[in-house]
């Protein structure tokens, strides 16, 4: 799906899965043949028109794409600067961008003859999206979720159960997303014959960062065509939130070679100068975890630290390897937004636009609130509204001191 050009930001990864020094395949030997098989299958699928057609058909008829590129008039007027568009991923079936990737990966799983699906989830959005495609394809589904996350995301846990998935609480380590990923890897290595691991973000061993990105590029491809149609030109800037970074890379990638400023927003939790944040690029350093080299939050001894964010979906101490590379070469600017700023943005967007955003997406909105007023009115900005916030109302109520 990516075209190879010289001097393009879009050529990565190389054949060993590296984006600059990031990426790679740091997995147990038991998994290596399987990881190579995923890569081989993906290469074949990429060149198979029937695969592409089935993927696009499902995105259209099942996910409900294309979703709108919406001119946020009231937000634009309120901020008094740049003209703001929202790419409405929250209108997808299951309420977030996650489903794009799950549709692609379950097609790969079926192509490989795998009969059982596993996934990890933090906020539960990827778990719900995975359980959804498993229901659609009639495959058994096991979702690993931190015991702490199960407690704070009960509605999503019940959704997954209704969809037929088995949700396994992870009680090891910090009981959150990174530990769920460890547990999913342990399951995978123990069930290599029949199991496909649907990783939820553009991270993990090669080829996952590449294939998740490619499946999510539908976001940026649509946005590009839509802005050309509406404005007759490309946007001047893009803004999206990053945890692992799949919605961000999906929006950004089709614009990387254009004259467009790109901002990715990390979750700063209680602040990047505290020990409670999830800003791996702003506050971390390169290391190796979960199959790839990338920026990680860790101590001086290389032990991975617990991340913190009010948004469970950004609560991960790492980031996809392509983001680490785009950071180092300066193509994308990574900026922090803390819990408090995200909460304010959550409320403003809800009141001004009648759209309840996910707390993840609220981080991007908060940065738009900072940036847009400093820009002229003819500056066009596209923000990735990656998910809807219904799942977050309990967290927000608690943070605002309200009982519901």
């Amino acid at each position: 799906m990516t075209e190879n050009k010289k001097n393009s930001y879009r050529n990565g990864p190389d054949e060993d899965g590296h984006f600059g020094i990031y990426g790679g395949r740091y997995v147990a030997e038991t998994l290596m043949p399987l990881v190579l098989d995923v890569e081989k299958t993906y290469r074949e699928a990429k060149n198979d028109p029937a695969f592409k057609q089935e993927f696009q058909e499902l995105l259209k008829e099942y996910v409900g794409r294309p979703n709108p590129l919406y001119y946020a008039k009231r937000m634009t007027e309120h901020l008094g600067g740049a003209k703001i568009y929202f790419k409405r991923e929250e209108l997808n079936h299951t309420g977030a961008h996650k489903i794009n990737n799950c549709v692609g990966q379950i097609l790969l799983a079926r192509r490989m003859g795998k009969t059982r699906i596993i996934a990890e989830t933090g906020a539960g959005q990827h778990g719900v999206a995975t359980a959804t495609v498993c229901a659609l394809f009639g495959m058994p589904c096991v979702v690993y979720m931190g015991a702490k996350d199960i407690e704070r995301q009960k509605p999503n846990v019940f959704r997954m159960k209704l969809l037929g998935a088995e949700v396994i609480p992870v009680t090891s380590g910090s009981e959150s997303l990174k530990d769920s990923m460890n547990e999913a890897m342990r399951d995978w290595v123990s069930n290599v014959e029949d199991t496909f691991y649907i990783i939820g973000t553009a991270a993990g061993p090669h080829p996952y960062p590449e294939l998740v990105r490619d499946f999510q590029c539908v976001i940026g491809d649509e946005a590009r065509a839509q802005i050309l149609e509406k404005e007759g030109r490309l946007a001047d800037s893009l803004v999206a939130c990053v945890g692992g970074g799949s919605n961000a890379i999906g929006l950004f990638h089709p614009f990387l070679d254009d004259d467009v400023d790109i901002y990715a927003v990390e979750a700063a939790g209680h602040g990047v100068d505290t020990d409670k944040h999830a800003a791996s690029l702003t506050g971390g350093a390169p290391g190796v975890l979960h199959g790839n080299r990338t920026y990680l939050l860790m101590d001086d001894d290389g032990q991975i630290l617990e991340a913190h964010s009010i948004s469970a979906g950004l609560d991960y101490p790492g980031i996809g390897p392509e983001h680490s590379h785009l950071n180092d070469i300066g193509r994308v600017k990574y900026v922090p937004i803390d819990d408090k700023q995200a909460l304010e943005a959550f409320q403003l967007c809800t009141k001004l636009e009648g759209i309840i955003p996910a707390l993840e997406s609220a981080h991007a909105i908060a940065y738009v609130m900072k940036l847009a007023p400093t820009l002229p009115k003819d500056h066009i900005m596209i923000m990735g509204l990656s998910g809807r916030g219904d799942k977050d109302i309990f967290t927000v109520a608690k943070a605002l001191g309200e009982e519901i």
Binding site: G24, A28, E29, S172, R186, V189, E193, V288, G302, Q303
Partner: protein, 270 residues
């Protein structure tokens, strides 16, 4: 010494016509002092080769026993530097027993590969087993380790075919560690026949010594695998004894007497 100490030990074992016992314990489990005492007692208890686990926050290839050992060690503020110091202390009284560090790559990467290899060799470490470095990533550590004279033990598994075996053997030194099951440490019990079959096949193309590990928990099991493997690794079962005796003043002797039983099992096999 490095890899040559490992090679020498396998030559001796071959002369004695027996398999070696490889023990695994985690550095700093349950605390630094106790784990150092255990380490020092292992050769007399019958360990022929000693694997020391480097604690890691996210041990993705390990079952509950070794995960918990890592957590106990890290709670006690164990670090890679302290692990190296343990080995320096061990070497004051033992120049013959090979010591292998086993774990995950990130702590070494953060320490700095060149500095780590230098410090580890100086401390008296002879080999490394890094679970998340398959041959595809040999340039990270295996190639520099080989150049420095440090053994780089590679893993082969039930999913390894002959083509991959060639790739694994290319930069693997010391011995080959055959993982008996497709899974994590200390869980499923391996069947004997497929493991023997795999080793027979591997031996057609290489004469590197072959250790087997994962899921071997009793002296009887160890004996069965010791009939045909060059070495047998026991980890989780030893670590479990540490866990069960944390509050017990006889912890060290309980661990060492279990190692002694394992050793008797291994020695009785042929």
């Amino acid at each position: 010494m490095g890899v040559s100490r490992i090679e020498k030990r396998f030559e001796t074992l071959k002369k004695e016509n027996r398999a070696g016992l490889v023990t695994f314990t985690t550095a700093g489990d349950p605390d630094l002092e106790t784990s150092l005492n255990i380490l020092k007692g292992l050769p007399n208890a019958g360990a022929d080769i000693i694997e020391i686990g480097m604690p890691f926050s996210d041990p993705m290839a390990d079952g509950p026993a070794i995960q918990e050992a890592s957590i106990r060690a890290l709670k006690g503020k164990m670090t890679l530097r302290k692990t190296l110091n343990m080995v320096t202390s061990f070497r004051e009284n033992d120049q013959d027993t090979p010591i292998i560090l086993m774990g995950y790559y990130n702590p070494i990467y953060i320490y700095g590969v060149d500095k780590f290899l230098e410090d580890a060799l100086e401390a008296g470490i002879d080999g490394l087993i890094i679970v998340d470095l398959p041959p595809e990533e040999d340039t990270e550590l295996a190639i520099p380790a080989k150049a420095a004279g440090m053994g780089m033990v590679h893993l082969a598994t039930p999913t390894t075919d002959q083509a991959r075996l060639g790739q694994i053997l290319k930069n693997g030194t010391g011995f080959l560690y055959y993982v008996t099951i497709a899974g994590i440490t200390g869980t499923a019990k391996p069947d004997l026949a497929p493991v023997k079959n795999a080793l027979d096949n591997f031996r057609k193309v290489t004469d590197i010594p072959m250790a087997v590990g994962f899921g071997i928990k009793t002296p009887e099991d160890a004996a069965r695998f010791a009939e045909f493997a060059d070495a047998v690794v026991v980890g989780s079962a030893i670590v479990d004894i540490i866990k069960q005796n944390i509050a017990n003043s006889a912890l060290e002797s309980k661990v060492l007497s279990f190692v002694n039983e394992l050793s008797i099992g291994v020695k009785s096999a042929r």
